[in-house]
């Protein structure tokens, strides 16, 4: 099951993708004000939701790692942060492409853009600390992940608190049914792909932890046998 689940999720993602393209480009009407470029929405918004979800997952897992010393939680936190960077890069590239076509400017420094960029940078810092930090840096990294998770509600409420070029959160809820019918499969495909990547990366991390333990034990055994030979 452990090995088959990511493959099943990839199969769902790959199988749904052609249907998404058919729905988005052939079955959904062109939005009146923005025109064809609005079709970026069907992947940009689900990616943003996935990025925020992974931020929360990483923060919660990091908190569990700090509180209970859970290695599974640690592996989930590292994996969620990495997949968040992929999804976040997708959001931060497709957003300005859409903005360039719609607002005439790729980056307007509005609160939602800045808070999203900040979230990505915090988790980039988390991944870098995890990768290059020395002994004990995992606690610092976990604290960074919890701090990053706090940014998620700021992203959500940014359009309510500050004046932004991004539309209000209610705009998604007010979509006509045919646009929702296209948004759901896109969200499903991207969630399936992201969760598949998350599961694989988590398994890698746990394998790496076990390998580290294995190498340490072998070194200890080798040292013990060398000491015995000397005595």
């Amino acid at each position: 099951m452990g090995r088959k689940l990511p493959l099943a999720l990839f199969a769902i993602g790959a199988g749904t993708f052609p249907y998404c393209v058919q729905r988005v480009f052939l079955a959904t009407p062109i939005e009146r004000q923005m025109g064809t470029v609005q079709k970026i929405f069907y992947f940009h918004v689900p990616l943003a939701w996935i990025m925020m979800l992974l931020g929360v997952v990483c923060g919660v897992a990091a908190a569990l790692q700090l509180r209970r010393g859970s290695r599974t939680a640690e592996a989930v936190a590292i994996s969620a942060a990495e997949v968040l960077l992929v999804a976040g890069l997708g959001v931060l590239i497709t957003g300005p492409i859409w903005g360039h076509a719609t607002w005439g400017k790729a980056w307007t420094w509005d609160a939602r853009q800045v808070s999203t960029g900040l979230l990505w940078l915090i988790f980039a810092a988390y991944v870098l600390v995890r990768h290059y930090g020395g002994v004990g840096s995992e606690r610092l990294a976990a604290a960074l992940a919890i701090f990053g998770a706090i940014d998620v509600p700021i992203i959500y409420y940014a359009v309510k608190i500050w004046k932004t070029t991004h539309p209000d959160n209610n705009v998604v809820g007010s979509l006509p049914p045919e646009m929702w019918a296209s948004l759901w499969p896109c969200l499903g495909a991207l969630v399936a792909m992201s969760m598949g990547l998350l599961l694989i990366r988590t398994r890698h991390e746990k394998t790496e932890m076990m390998l580290d333990d294995g190498w340490v034990q072998i070194e200890d055994l080798a040292r013990e046998s060398a000491d015995k030979d000397k005595s």
Partner: protein, 90 residues
């Protein structure tokens, strides 16, 4: 297409005769054509933006997938090395 005395004459096949279109003057047609050109430019620009956006998203996922696959290969090799070492020690 050709214009003649304020009415529009559509280009006809080789015979050289033109079919007269009634009810629309030259200015209206030119205005309509200009609007259509703007709309066509906007649509072409939108398509470019969409191709870039969708390309970037799927390229990112593919690159990360390849990175995970390479990591998987490296871990398998590491596990094999560790197992061999354990066998030699026991």
């Amino acid at each position: 297409m050709a214009f003649h005395n304020g009415s529009i004459l559509l280009a006809a096949p080789a015979g050289g005769d033109y079919e007269k279109v009634e009810g629309r003057d030259r200015e209206t047609i030119e205005c309509q054509r200009a609007c259509e050109a703007v709309a066509a430019d906007k649509t072409a620009s939108d398509y470019d933006h969409i191709v870039w956006a969708y390309g970037v998203i799927w390229a990112l996922f593919c690159v990360y997938g390849i990175m995970l696959w390479r990591r998987s290969e490296r871990l398998s090799a590491d596990v094999a090395t560790l197992t061999r070492k354990l066998e030699r020690m026991s």
